[in-house]
């Protein structure tokens, strides 16, 4: 990420949509209705050019209850060049994105991939405690509080070794593009198929040997 100090932050955040909403933007589902008919958008939905994949490995899974995934931080991540020069650490918003993606995978499994988009609706009590540097692994645990057809809520906790890196409560919204335009059904299916493929990769490489952190504690908020 290369933020421009003169630009309104909402423009920077919009660049991450639908991946990440700031904790100050409460309520409302920020659905990206950019030109999803375009070939670029279709390639993105197939996962070919999406760059912000913030989970690498499935560690443990209790269907409908808890999912633990790992994010390995590497020097190759472009946003580290600016965060910070000479002292690269994973930005807090990327930790939050890793948490959202972990929770979203739990929802997808629970709902049998019923929705093409699972997006952050609200983040409460987000607390950052430790940096995560290249070469370290962020273990992200998402404990479901509630999962319905259209919404879900989680307690999340990210750890690096024995240190807590991030804690928060998240609310996600589950949607399909067909809700706004039935003609977009093929795009929904394209996205869902890509997600199923990726889940297949995760489950093939599940590594039970890595210890999972203790269940997430309730975050203040």
């Amino acid at each position: 990420m290369r933020p421009r100090s003169a630009a309104p932050l909402r423009n920077i955040r919009r660049a991450f949509t639908p991946i990440c909403l700031s904790k100050s933007s409460a309520a409302g589902t920020n659905i990206p209705l950019w030109p999803v008919r375009s070939r670029l958008a279709q390639r993105a939905l197939k996962g070919r050019i999406v760059k912000f994949i913030l989970v690498d490995q499935l560690i443990s899974h209790e269907p409908g209850k808890r999912l633990v995934m790992a994010k390995n931080v590497t020097m190759a991540e472009e946003y580290l060049a600016d965060h910070f020069p000479g002292f690269p650490v994973l930005p807090g918003v990327m930790m939050l994105e890793a948490a959202v993606q972990t929770a979203a995978w739990l929802v997808r499994q629970h709902s049998n991939f019923a929705h093409s988009l699972i997006v952050l609706k609200e983040a409460r009590g987000v607390k950052y405690s430790s940096f995560v540097a290249p070469g370290q692994t962020l273990l992200m645990a998402a404990d479901a509080i509630e999962i319905t057809q259209t919404h879900s809520s989680f307690k999340i906790k990210g750890t690096v070794g024995t240190a807590t890196a991030i804690q928060a409560r998240l609310e996600l919204a589950h949607v399909n593009l067909t809700q706004t335009d039935p003609a977009l059904a093929p795009i929904d299916q394209l996205s869902i198929n890509a997600q199923r493929e990726r889940w297949q990769i995760f489950t093939q490489r599940q590594t039970p040997a890595l210890a999972a952190p203790a269940p997430a504690q309730a975050a203040a908020g």
């Binding site: 933020p3 932050l9 904790k23 100050s24 002292f87 930005p91 807090g92 009590g125």
Partner: protein
């Protein structure tokens, strides 16, 4: 007419409530932006921009987050700030209290020194209040 400290505090408080989604009673002068209000790097960017807009000032890069110091071996070694680094911090941001940080100058805690009062005093110096 120059702004009073209370007026500056009120405006800074509005900025922090808006950017950090915190309650009015959480924004006290002693509250650390990172430790107490859970601000992280993108929030400091947002706060910088909002303060510039609210007060009509320019906040140079590095004034609030001394990122250029993190890679300088004169100022940081093994994840800690050197005594020279602490001295340099005090020069760059003289409005913060470094008492606790000097006892354990861990880089992970460097942003803890920026409190609401630090911002207020910094802005007051900028607007000539």
């Amino acid at each position: 007419m120059p702004m009073t400290k209370d007026e500056v505090f009120t405006k800074v408080k509005e900025v922090l409530i808006s950017t950090l989604a915190v309650d009015d009673n959480e924004v006290t002068p002693e509250a650390s932006l990172k430790r107490d209000l859970n601000a992280e790097s993108i929030d400091f960017l947002d706060i910088t921009f909002q303060l510039e807009k609210a007060f009509g000032i320019k906040i140079p890069k590095g004034d609030l987050v001394p990122e250029s110091m993190f890679a300088d071996p004169e100022f940081t070694q093994n994840g800690k700030m050197t005594p020279k680094g602490v001295a340099e911090l005090k020069t760059r941001m003289p409005y913060a209290d470094y008492t606790d940080f000097e006892k354990d100058p861990d880089l992970q805690k460097v942003l803890d020194v920026i409190t609401v009062d630090t911002l207020v005093r910094y802005v007051m110096a900028k607007v000539g209040a």
